[in-house]
C-alpha cells in the first residue's frame, strides 16, 4: 500500500484540479479537459511502452495519431457511390499494383543474392510501378475529386460503426510502425528520433494532399458519434425530466411558469453537452483502464522483464539468446498501435478530421513532455503525465493572464507593455511546458512517479 501512496496522492491532486475547473469555469470545460487528458494518457501509454520499456525513441507520434484519425473517416463515413463508380476500379487496380510491387520485391529479396542486379531489379519494379500508378490513378483522382467537391469529392468510407474504427486505427498505426521499424530501428537513438519525425511528416503530408482519400485539407466534418447528439437529447422527454429532477431546488425558486421554462431550457442545453461529454469520458475511461491493466500485466511478466533487460543492456540480453531486433520491432508496433487508437479516439471525440492540424509541436513534442514528466517506464506515471501536461497546456493561458494582471495591476489599462502581454497570454503555454520539462529533466529525471522494479 505504501508503494501506491504517492500515486494515489498525485492522482487525487489532479482530479481536484479538474474539479476546481468545473466549479470555477464550467463543468463542460472541465469534462472537455478530462476527455483530452484521457486521450493524451492513451498516447502517452503508447510512447511509454516504446521509450520506458524498450528505450526506443519515437518522435513520430504525430503520424500514428493522424493515421488513427484517418481510420475513423475510412471506417465510419458512408461510401460515396458516384465517386466509386467514376474512379473505384482504377483506384482498386492501383492498390493491386502496390500489393504486387511489395510481393515481387519481397520475392526478389528472398531469391536473388545481394548484388547490383538485385538493386536494379528492385529499382525497376518501383519505377515501373510508380509510372503505372500515375497513369492509372491520375484521371481517376481528378474525376473522384470532381464529384460534388463542396461536400464529398472523396471515396468515402465503409459506413461501419465508429467504435470499430478505434481498432482499425490501431491496426493502421501498427502497419505503419512495421514499415518504419523495418527501415529505421537499426539507427542510433537520436537518428531514430529524427527519422521517425520525418517519416511522420511524410505520412501527414500524404493525408493532407491526397484529397480523394479523406478530402485533405478540406476536412471531413460531421463524423458519426458513439454517443447521443445534443439536439436529440434536448428534445427527448426522459432527459428533460432528468434535468428537472436534478435541479428541482433551483427551478422551484422561479417566480413564474415562463421564467421556470426559460431556466429549464438553459439547464437542458448545458446538461446535454455535459451528458455527451460524460458518455465519451466513460468510453475513454474503459479504454484507459483496459490498456492500463494489459500494460501493467505485460510490464511485470517475463516478457516485460526481458524488455527491460534489453533496454538496460542490449549486448547482454542478446548474449542470453534474446532476439533484440525482433523484440524492438514488436514493441515499436505495439506502442504505435496504442497511439493509433488514441488518434482515432480523438477524431471521434471532435467529430471532425482536420489533417491540417497535425503538427509536430502538438502531437509529438507535447506527448514526449508528458512521458518524461509523468515518469518513464511507469504506466501510472505515463497516464499522470498525460493529465498534468494537458491540464497545464490548456489552463496555461488563464493562469498566465491571472499573473500578468497581478504583476501589472499598478499600470494603466492602456500601457503598451500590459496590452502586449495580455495579447500574448496564449503563448505562455509553451513557456510553462518548456520550463516544466527542463526542471523535471534537471531535478527529477525519472519523472513524477518513477519506475519501480519489484524484486522477488
Amino acid at each position: 500500500m505504501r508503494n501506491y501512496l504517492n500515486i494515489i496522492i498525485a492522482y487525487s491532486i489532479m482530479m481536484l484540479l479538474i474539479i476546481l475547473v468545473g466549479i470555477f469555469q464550467s463543468w463542460s470545460i472541465a469534462l472537455t479537459i478530462f476527455n483530452y487528458c484521457m486521450i493524451s494518457a492513451v498516447m502517452t501509454l503508447g510512447a511509454n511502452i516504446q521509450w520506458g520499456y524498450a528505450g526506443l525513441i519515437n518522435f513520430g507520434i504525430m503520424g500514428y495519431t493522424a493515421l488513427g484519425g484517418l481510420a475513423v473517416v475510412l471506417v465510419s463515413v458512408a461510401p460515396v457511390p458516384e465517386a466509386w463508380s467514376v474512379g473505384g476500379v482504377n483506384m482498386m487496380t492501383c492498390l493491386g499494383i502496390i500489393i504486387l510491387m511489395i510481393f515481387s520485391t519481397r520475392y526478389i529479396l528472398k531469391n536473388i543474392q545481394k548484388s547490383n542486379k538485385r538493386n536494379y531489379l528492385i529499382a525497376g519494379i518501383i519505377i515501373v510501378g510508380l509510372i503505372l500508378i500515375k497513369i492509372i490513378a491520375g484521371p481517376a483522382i481528378e474525376q473522384i475529386e470532381a464529384v460534388d467537391p463542396a461536400k464529398t469529392g472523396f471515396l468515402g468510407g465503409l459506413g461501419l460503426p465508429v467504435l470499430f474504427s478505434w481498432i482499425v486505427g490501431g491496426l493502421f498505426a501498427a502497419g505503419l510502425a512495421f514499415i518504419v521499424g523495418k527501415v529505421a530501428l537499426g539507427l542510433r537513438a537520436d537518428y531514430l528520433a529524427i527519422a521517425t519525425l520525418l517519416i511522420a511528416e511524410i505520412v501527414v503530408s500524404i493525408i493532407k494532399h491526397e484529397d480523394w482519400l479523406a478530402r485533405g485539407v478540406k476536412n471531413v466534418i460531421g463524423l458519426k458519434r458513439p454517443a447521443p447528439y445534443e439536439i436529440d437529447l434536448q428534445t427527448s422527454p426522459w432527459f428533460i425530466n432528468l434535468v428537472e429532477k436534478f435541479h428541482s431546488a433551483k427551478l422551484d425558486l422561479a417566480n413564474s411558469l415562463s421564467e421556470r421554462q426559460d431556466i429549464l431550457n438553459q439547464l437542458v442545453i448545458d446538461a446535454s453537452s455535459v451528458y455527451v461529454k460524460l458518455c465519451f469520458a466513460g468510453m475513454f475511461l474503459v479504454v484507459v483502464i483496459i490498456l492500463l491493466i494489459i500494460t501493467q500485466k505485460a510490464l511485470y511478466s517475463p516478457w516485460g522483464r526481458m524488455m527491460r533487460a534489453i533496454r538496460d543492456n542490449e549486448e547482454a540480453a542478446s548474449a542470453m539468446g534474446k532476439n533484440v531486433v525482433k523484440q524492438h520491432l514488436f514493441i515499436f508496433i505495439l506502442g504505435s498501435a496504442i497511439v493509433g487508437i488514441a488518434g482515432a479516439m480523438m477524431v471521434t471525440n471532435d467529430g471532425l478530421f482536420t489533417p491540417g492540424s497535425y503538427r509536430p509541436m502538438r502531437y509529438t513534442f507535447v506527448i514526449w513532455v508528458m512521458v518524461i514528466v509523468g515518469g518513464t517506464g511507469n504506466n501510472f506515471g505515463a497516464i499522470l503525465g498525460g493529465f498534468v501536461v494537458w491540464f497545464l497546456w490548456v489552463e496555461a493561458a488563464p493562469i498566465a493572464l491571472f499573473f500578468i494582471n497581478l504583476f501589472t495591476a499598478h499600470l494603466p489599462e492602456t500601457n503598451e507593455i500590459k496590452v502586449h502581454l495580455i495579447n500574448s497570454a496564449p503563448y505562455f503555454r509553451f513557456l510553462l511546458v518548456g520550463i516544466g520539462l527542463l526542471l523535471i529533466m534537471r531535478f527529477r529525471p525519472q519523472g513524477i512517479i518513477p519506475e519501480k522494479i519489484i524484486k522477488q
Binding site: I57, V183, A184, G186, L187, A189, D190, Y191, A193, I194, A195, L197, L198, I199, E201, I202, S205, I206, K208, H209, M361, F365, W368, V369, I372, L421, N423, S424, Y427, F428, R429, F430, L431, V433, G434, I435, L437, L438, M441, R442, P445
Partner: protein, 336 residues
C-alpha cells in the same frame, strides 16, 4: 535559340531558386552538424534558435527604419546582422550555462541532451512569440531586383526572361563568404584545429591540453553566427514567421544527415542536395520541354513528377533512403 531559351527557363525557375534555398539550408545544416559534432547531441531547437536571431534583425530593422538609417540599395537588415548575432550568441551562452552545461559535465547520453533541447525549443518558441508574436513579417527594403525579366528580354532579345532577385544574390554571396571564412577557421587556425580534434576524439584532445570550455564557447559563437545569418537570409528571401522557422528544422536536419552528420562539408553539400531535389522533382517541365522537343512531341500535361505540396516530403524521403543505404551520410559523417 530554343536551346538558350530552355536553359534560361531552367535557370530562372529551378537553378537560381534552388541555389538560394540550398544556401539557406546549408547554413542551418552546418549549425546542426557543428553542435552534433562537438557538443554531441541533435539540437531540436535549431529552427527556433535561427528564428530567435532573425527576430532581433526584424525588430532592429524596424527601429533603424524609424530613425532613418538605411543601407542604400541593400536591405537594412544586413546592417543589423552584427547586433542580431551578438544577441543570439548571448542567448545561446545563457542557455548553455543554465541548461546544457549540467548534462555535458554529467556526460549524459545524447538522447537526454536531445530531450533537453526539446525543452529549450519550447522556451525559445515562447519567448519569440511573446516578444514579436506569431504573425508573418516582411522586413526587406532597398532594391528588390537586380535583373528584371523585361530588362533581360530587351537586352538579349530572347523570348524567356531571367529574373534575379537581390535577396537571391545576397544569399548566395553572403553564404559563400561566411562558409569560406568558417572553413578557413576550422582548417587553418589553431582554435579550429583544436575543435576538430575535440570532435574526433574528446579524450585524446583533453589529454593534449585542449581547453574544453574554450572549444564549447567557440562552437556556440560560430553556431550563433551561422544560425543568425541563415535565419536572416531566409527571412529576407521569403518572410519571417516563427512557425515556418520551426518547420524548417526538418529539411535542415535532413540536409545535415544526408551530408553525413558531424561533417561540415557534408552539411554544406547536403543543403544543396535537398534544395535541388525538392525543386527539380516538383518543377513542371512543360515549358522547358516545349523548347527542346520537336513540335510533334510536345507534352500536353504539366510534366510534373510530384505536386509542389510534397516539397517537404521529398527531402524526408531522400533522408530515409540515405539512412537505409548509407547511414553515415554521403560524406563520411562524425568528423569535423
Amino acid at each position: 535559340m530554343d536551346l538558350i531559351n530552355a536553359v534560361i527557363v531552367l535557370l530562372n525557375y529551378t537553378i537560381i531558386p534552388a541555389l538560394t534555398y540550398g544556401s539557406q539550408l546549408a547554413l542551418g545544416a552546418i549549425f546542426v552538424t557543428l553542435i552534433y559534432g562537438i557538443l554531441r547531441f541533435a539540437n531540436f531547437a535549431t529552427g527556433d534558435m535561427m528564428s530567435f536571431g532573425t527576430m532581433f534583425a526584424v525588430l532592429l530593422t524596424y527601429y533603424f527604419q524609424s530613425i532613418g538609417i538605411n543601407f542604400g540599395f541593400l536591405p537594412t537588415a544586413l546592417l543589423t546582422i552584427p547586433f542580431a548575432i551578438f544577441m543570439m550568441i548571448f542567448y545561446m551562452l545563457i542557455i548553455d550555462q543554465t541548461v546544457f552545461k549540467y548534462y555535458r559535465i554529467k556526460k549524459s547520453p545524447p538522447v537526454m541532451l536531445a530531450m533537453v533541447s526539446v525543452g529549450v525549443m519550447f522556451v525559445t518558441q515562447a519567448i519569440i512569440r511573446i516578444i514579436i508574436g506569431p504573425t508573418d513579417r516582411r522586413f526587406l527594403d532597398g532594391e528588390k531586383f537586380i535583373l528584371k525579366a523585361t530588362e533581360f528580354k530587351e537586352m538579349t532579345g530572347l523570348a524567356e526572361g531571367l529574373t534575379i532577385k537581390s535577396t537571391q544574390m545576397i544569399t548566395i554571396v553572403v553564404t559563400i563568404i561566411v562558409v569560406a571564412i568558417m572553413f578557413w577557421f576550422l582548417n587553418k587556425t589553431k582554435t579550429g584545429t583544436s575543435m576538430r580534434a575535440y570532435s574526433d576524439n574528446e579524450d585524446l584532445a583533453l589529454l593534449s591540453g585542449i581547453d574544453p570550455k574554450k572549444v564549447v564557447l567557440i562552437t556556440w559563437i560560430i553556431a550563433g553566427i551561422l544560425a543568425t545569418i541563415g535565419g536572416i537570409l531566409y527571412g529576407l528571401d521569403k518572410s519571417y514567421r516563427p512557425f515556418v522557422y520551426f518547420n524548417n528544422m526538418l529539411p535542415i536536419f535532413a540536409a545535415a544527415i544526408v551530408g553525413g552528420i558531424g561533417n561540415p562539408y557534408g552539411a554544406f553539400f547536403g543543403g544543396y542536395v535537398i534544395a535541388f531535389a525538392e525543386i527539380f522533382l516538383t518543377y513542371a517541365y512543360k515549358r522547358f520541354l516545349v523548347y527542346i522537343l520537336p513540335e510533334s512531341l510536345e507534352p500536353n500535361s504539366l510534366m510534373q513528377l510530384l505536386s509542389t505540396d510534397y516539397k517537404f516530403a521529398i527531402s524526408f524521403s531522400i533522408l530515409v533512403i540515405v539512412l537505409i543505404f548509407r547511414p553515415s551520410g554521403i560524406f563520411e559523417g562524425k568528423r569535423i
